[in-house]
Amino acid sequence: MLDTKRSRPLLAVEDLRVSFFHLEGEVRAVDGIRYTVERGSVMGIVGESGSGKSVQAYSILGLVPPPGRVTGGRITFEGRDVLSFSPEERAHFRGGEAAMVFQNPMTSLNPLYPVGSQLVEALRAHERGLSRREARERAAGMLARVGLQNPERRMEQYPHQFSGGMRQRVMIAMALICSPRLLIADEPTTALDVTIQAQILELLRDLQRETGMGILFITHNLGVVAELCDQVSVMYAGKIVEQGGVDDIFYAPAHPYTLGLLRSMPRLDGGNQGRLVPIPGTPADPLHRPAGCPFSPRCGACRPVCRRQPPPTVELGNGHRAACWLCAEERGGGGLG
């Protein structure tokens, strides 16, 4: 008999919807997205500011701030329904089974406590039986694992005594101290310099290889996606417009938005390739999104149907899919999905 727990994905998000209810109206920040994160694999969520990439991740841990709330869909973690967790189950899930690393490590560490006591607190909240001494030993071991020298001494120090890169290492240590099976990383390297970013990406890759955890990696940086991710979902205006293996996304992009992003970036290796090809216009106003395809006002290949009706999601093979009328037509009509 197959172990059913193994054959299920680690995390499955189905038709997730998150809205913010403002005086001006409802903003559908996340508008029906689906993806899975497998064990030992990295799912990258790419998008620009306002695309909904962070909000969808917050909803997994129940962290969507008011006036926002999840309005539909399902999130399952190892087959269990995350959205209907009791408060106790949620407390165990958050930090114990799934943990998060945020963009700005300074605002996620408490400036009034030494980092050691913050690590110990996180550990003892999830492993009640642990003595203070054991907890401190594990915390020191974890800090050493993420590359801090003199961990015992470092534990006595306050967050302001750490550099940005070191703080992010502390955040990663704190997230991983209870051995979660899912790590959610929300732009963890955006505030860091490129050489420090390279150190953190290498650390995440090593830790994943050791622990076999799944990673949900949220970023706007396509270079980082290419370095780290196995699967990629491209978000635009609350929807996933394209999804697939990292090679498909970079070498066979199907959605005009993905193509536009890749084309508009200057390349370090590509010589002086003359004029850049920007995506025209600006991202859609979240209060007044277009009726059909959200990208249609900026799309060079826009047809009348794109403005009228939301595009179907077209399967391109091997888990590669794109939500675009153009792809549907190329595939011989496609289906209304």
């Binding site: 620009e48 500011s49 550099s163 890169g165 070191m166 310099d193 490129v194 050489t195 420090i196 970013q197 390279a198 150190q199 990406l201 290498e202 706007h220 940086n221 396509l222 270079g223 980082v224 996606v225 290419a226 370095e227 990292v246 090679d247 970079f250 070498y251 536009g260 992003l261 890749l262 508009s264 970036m265 200057p266 390349r267 370090l268 290796d269 010589g271 002086n272 390739q273 004029r275 850049l276 090809v277 920007p278 995506i279 025209p280 600006t282 991202p283 900026r298």
Partner: protein, 336 residues
């Protein structure tokens, strides 16, 4: 060779720190270079390397500590360097107002650099008024309209306030304001790093168009090497206040001579999964030392994979290792 527009010689800028003896934070240390008319010189480096301070010191938005700035043949500032880098004698400096018309700056954060209580028309008009560039209300309004259209905004936008614009549009306003005084030289300080990926290329193209149409000269400061490579003819690399390498942009990317440039280039994530799987990366140990207590000798030696004992003692001068390719490394040019 094209005409030299700007020359910077041994420029230093330090900020005194209370309770700390010595020169304080040495943000810019002994930097020399020239910029020719019509070219773009890119300046890259990580946060804290002094690139922004250098740009502002050239415009004398920060008063230099020592060194010399020559713009269009006129010395804007000169002060000698004495013992241990301390300034010596009296500074020689000119009134900057007439030069503000010729040298302008575009700031990194477009929303923070536009007054929220002024309309876009007032923001652009203020620059015109200060330098008396319009003969009457009609010609002033016409000039504002012309500038807005030049940077791709609509003439009605003059009546709107900065908050009504997106980040990319705000940066266009910042560019229009800088262009209002018809400058020759622009310091572009991270002009696109606050913008979304899909908007960055629009602003890069606008800057390139303006350069071609108006014959502008740019000092383009950014941390994103790909963008700097795209827009610049030559690139300078800064580390801990010093200019460590300077070369033509293709040359610098393909044949970096300074170990720090090599590390920096290998750290840039390429949007190319196959290449990044096969690439060997030099991951640097440790972090940038404090500019309050910079290391002795070469600023990079404590982290340098190629450091030898001499690097600890000798400050390497920026020397021409190959024609047009300068590096401040004792070992640059010798086989690794």
């Amino acid at each position: 060779m094209a005409e030299e527009l700007l020359r910077v010689e041994r420029l230093c800028k330090s900020f005194p720190v209370k309770g700390v003896r010595g020169p304080g934070v040495q943000a810019v240390r002994d930097v020399s270079f020239t910029v020719c008319r019509g070219e773009t010189l890119g300046l890259v480096g990580e946060s804290g390397c002094g690139k922004t301070t250098l740009g502002r010191t050239i415009l004398r938005l920060h008063e230099p500590t020592s060194g010399r700035i020559v713009y269009g043949g006129t010395t804007l500032f000169a002060r000698e360097v004495g013992e241990e880098g301390r300034p010596k004698g009296k500074a020689q400096a000119v009134d900057m107002l007439p030069y503000r018309r010729r040298m302008q700056i575009i700031f990194q954060d477009p929303s923070a650099s536009l007054d929220p209580r002024m309309t876009v028309g007032e923001i652009i008009g203020e620059a015109i008024d200060i330098h008396h560039l319009a003969s009457g209300r009609e010609s002033r309004a016409a000039r504002i309209r012309e500038l807005l259209e030049l940077v791709g905004l609509r003439k009605e936008d003059a009546e709107r306030y900065p908050h009504a614009f997106s980040g990319g549009q705000q940066q266009r306003v910042g560019i229009a304001r800088a262009l209002a005084v018809e400058p020759e030289f622009l310091v572009c300080d991270e002009p696109i790093s606050a913008l979304d990926v899909s908007i960055q290329a629009q602003v890069v193209n606008l800057l390139e168009d303006m350069q071609r149409e108006l014959g502008l000269t740019y000092l383009f400061i950014a941390h994103d090497l790909s963008v700097v490579r795209h827009i610049s003819r030559r690139i300078g690399v800064m580390y801990l206040g010093s200019l460590v390498e300077l070369a033509g942009s293709g040359e610098l990317i393909q044949k970096p001579l300074h170990p720090y440039t090599q590390v920096l280039l290998s750290a840039v994530p390429a949007p190319d999964p196959r290449a990044s799987r096969s690439r060997r990366r030099i991951v640097l140990q440790g972090e940038i030392p404090s500019p309050l207590r910079p290391p002795s000798g070469c600023p990079f030696h404590p982290r340098c994979p190629r450091a030898v004992p001499a690097c600890e003692r000798t400050v390497p001068p920026l020397r021409e290792v190959e024609p047009g390719h300068f590096a401040a490394c004792l070992q640059a040019g010798s086989a690794p």
